[in-house]
Amino acid sequence: MTTNIPGNLRYTKEHEWALVEGQTVTVGITDFAQSALGDIVFLEVPEVGTNLKAGATFGVVESIKSVSDLYAPISGEVLAKNSDLEGSPEKINADAYGAWLIKVKVKDVAELNNLLTAEQYQEFCNTSH
């Protein structure tokens, strides 16, 4: 399966992407994930100030027919959520890497090493689906 996987991002096995910029990580779901979900109709993300734990669920994305948990790529405090998506979560289908979900202040930089590189994520998508 061919899918869009930008080289400058890091990834989780649950199909989230993470853009690392200093102490801030921007989080979204991958093109592979939005395509597998289909028409996205509902998004639930935590309020600013919420503390996330790497690997734990932090929200939910729903398509017409399915519900999927979102998993935090790293631990830390939610700095912002994307207000552009409120009422129009379908923007994720249109541009999975532009339609970010939350920004997180990194608590432990070492955790970033646990994330997949673009190459590893591509490999993961190829072998597990």
Binding site: G38, V41, F42, E44, I64, K65, V67
Partner: protein
Amino acid sequence: MTTLKTSLFDEHVKLGAKIVPFAGWDMPVQYTSVKDEVLAVRQAVGVFDVSHMGEFFVEGEDAESFVDQLVTNDILGSPSGKAIYSPLCRENGTVIDDLIVYKLRPGRVLICVNASNIEKDFSWIKSKHVGFKCALTNASDRYSLLALQGPRAFETLRPLLSELPDIEYYSVYESSFEGQPVIVARTGYTGEDGFEIFGGHESVKNLWQKLMALKVTPCGLAARDVLRLEVCYPLYGHELTDEVNPYDAGLAWTVKAAKTKFIGKDALLPKPARYKLIKLILEKGIPREGYSVLNSSHKVIGTVTSGTMSVVLNKGVALARIEIDKAPSDEVFLVDIRQKAYPAQLTKKPFVTGGHK
């Protein structure tokens, strides 16, 4: 167990459909977008491969009377050429399946049943087939089935068949396609006008290809489920199960107490309902099967049997089974979505009004 494939499986793969296992079959769940497929059926025309469904024929002079005493709805009272929706019940009134009885012509009846219940239904019906002058055949393997649904279904289908009069909704007509016999019923599971076309595997495959050439939208099981839920049609395994009777599922209208005899009559005559099937609309949140329904004091009073985002309303909609003695008089309902109670509005009418005549 290996999954079965319909005669159109290769066509679905060619169209890039997402395939999922369903009732023992590999079925297309969606082609492009569930939303686009739903809207095609509501506004134009779409086609579903529903060849996984079962077809039984009952033929002989007692065909109608045999089927009439099997099911709760009135078969003998309808003229030849009509289609009748009915539950099939046990003596204790619980539902074995819901099905459509097609009165093709005197002495020839077609019964269309759910794919997941083919074996259960056929062995039940066979066990009751004693003392009637009619033959019973499970022809499920020999038939493919398309559902062509939407306001443009009639104008799309008519030129393709040898003849197709403008028959009434819930009627059936025996026609032919490219010289081969097909059974054409003005029925469906979407609330829209439309037809279900039963035919041999080759004929149905050729018809499918013709419809694709005419740019009819191929639609998958996900769109089918949204469409039926928007118009509040029950689905076996959800609103209907082996444990409930027709009254529990809002199907009182299908139980004809005036009939002299049918299986389950004695149990169903007192109208024994333990549950009530209600319709809920949510301004926020999407209800899903299995979510709890709460009253104003946040006590669990029932369960969502089917839920989705309605494409037409752009709101969450649900059918829910409520325990009758817990039905709140204030009609305040909440749905528990991930430990948060979302207000739900009770509605009496279907969420969407289909366009069928």
